[in-house]
């Protein structure tokens, strides 16, 4: 099984896929727009990973739905699944990169690069390269789409996604602890839900459980909705504070 939507009854699957994809893509693009506006205003390079990452995430959901629509096509079905898998892992890697570069000094400290620093420099490069190179290598090694091979690869890519989300979660928790503001708990919670989505998809890979798949879709939408809600509430609350300050 490549696309978990095939676990659902064929009569319901297309409608369910369209609904879940529409919600997920809209939320991803909404989050991306908030970060893109911030990036355009500030020009802070480390922020760019977030809008691009969430746009990639939205695109991956679209390819997931597209692969379901072409599930009878022997070429397009695995091809779209392959694109979705690469895009999704790349999306999480780019989002993690934003947190990585925010926490590091970006090599601006002026000191020379020591051998042990090479790992620190290589890590983000590897994080971005793996989601693209591993599936591409797998495709190049076997120019025809091997269903079971792709399914196995998706398991490893989900493991990679969970590791990357784990890193993001750790970074957001560290910021939360530093700021000592409980309201900042929402973002780690949102990433935890996205991590839960990947975990549920792994369960669905093992036992073809429809419950795990529905759980993954619910966790994904809840995570994205929570993230979008925080972005919206922060900007609108700030606007209200400014208006109140002006009125005073």
């Amino acid at each position: 099984m490549l696309n978990p939507f095939v676990l659902v009854s064929p009569a319901v699957a297309p409608a369910l896929a369209v609904a879940i994809t529409a919600v997920s893509v809209s939320l991803s693009l909404m989050i991306s727009r908030y970060f893109f506006k911030s990036y355009r205003f500030s020009g802070f390079g480390y922020l760019l990973g977030l809008p691009v990452g969430f746009t990639f995430l939205g695109a991956s959901f679209m390819f997931e739905a597209a692969s379901l629509m072409y599930r009878s096509d022997p070429l397009l079905y695995p091809a779209f699944f392959w694109i979705q898998m690469s895009l999704q892992s790349e999306a999480f890697a780019l989002i993690a990169l934003s947190y990585y570069y925010k926490n590091s000094d970006g090599g601006q400290s002026g000191r020379s690069v020591r051998p042990r620093d090479a790992l620190v420099i290589m890590l983000p490069l590897a994080m971005v390269a793996i989601p693209f190179l591993v599936p591409t290598f797998s495709l190049a090694a076997e120019p025809y789409f091997n269903y079971s091979g792709l399914a196995d690869l998706s398991f490893y890519m989900r493991l990679f996604n969970m590791a990357v989300i784990g890193y993001i979660f750790k970074s957001t928790i560290a910021s939360l602890a530093k700021a000592a503001n409980i309201k900042l708990l929402y973002v780690p919670a949102a990433f935890a839900l996205l991590g839960l989505e990947q975990y549920s998809l792994m369960l669905a890979y093992f036992d073809n459980s429809i419950g795990a798949f529905i759980g993954s879709a619910a966790a994904r939408m809840a995570g994205l909705a929570l993230f979008a809600y925080i972005m919206h509430s922060v900007t609108s609350k700030r606007r209200m504070e400014i208006e109140a300050r002006k009125a005073a």
Binding site: F35, S38, F41, L47, S171, S175, Y186, M231
Partner: protein
């Protein structure tokens, strides 16, 4: 205590906030007051004034400064940016 290096956007924000604060009491702000609020050297502050005036964020009248609508908009956008960055855990 050594002060952390401030980003240019943050400096603009602090200068504009200082001008806005000072203009609440007077029509225009005095550069010395702004300097006091922002803890900048006079030369550096004047360089920033030149740049901000070119960008239309402030205007100067006989040595005094006032914030423009574009400058006020900048304060709002910077406030939003910081809230967004903080809430995203960055």
């Amino acid at each position: 205590m050594r002060q952390e290096k401030r980003h240019k956007l943050q400096l603009f924000y602090e200068i504009l906030c200082a001008i806005e604060e000072d203009t609440m009491h007077n029509e225009v702000a005095k550069p010395t007051h702004v300097q006091h609020f922002t803890r900048l050297s006079y030369d550096k502050m004047m360089n920033h004034f030149d740049e901000m005036e070119k960008k239309g964020k402030i205007h100067r009248v006989s040595g005094l400064v006032a914030i423009t609508a574009k400058g006020k908009m900048f304060i709002e956008q910077y406030d939003q940016l910081i809230s967004l960055i903080e809430s995203a855990g960055l």
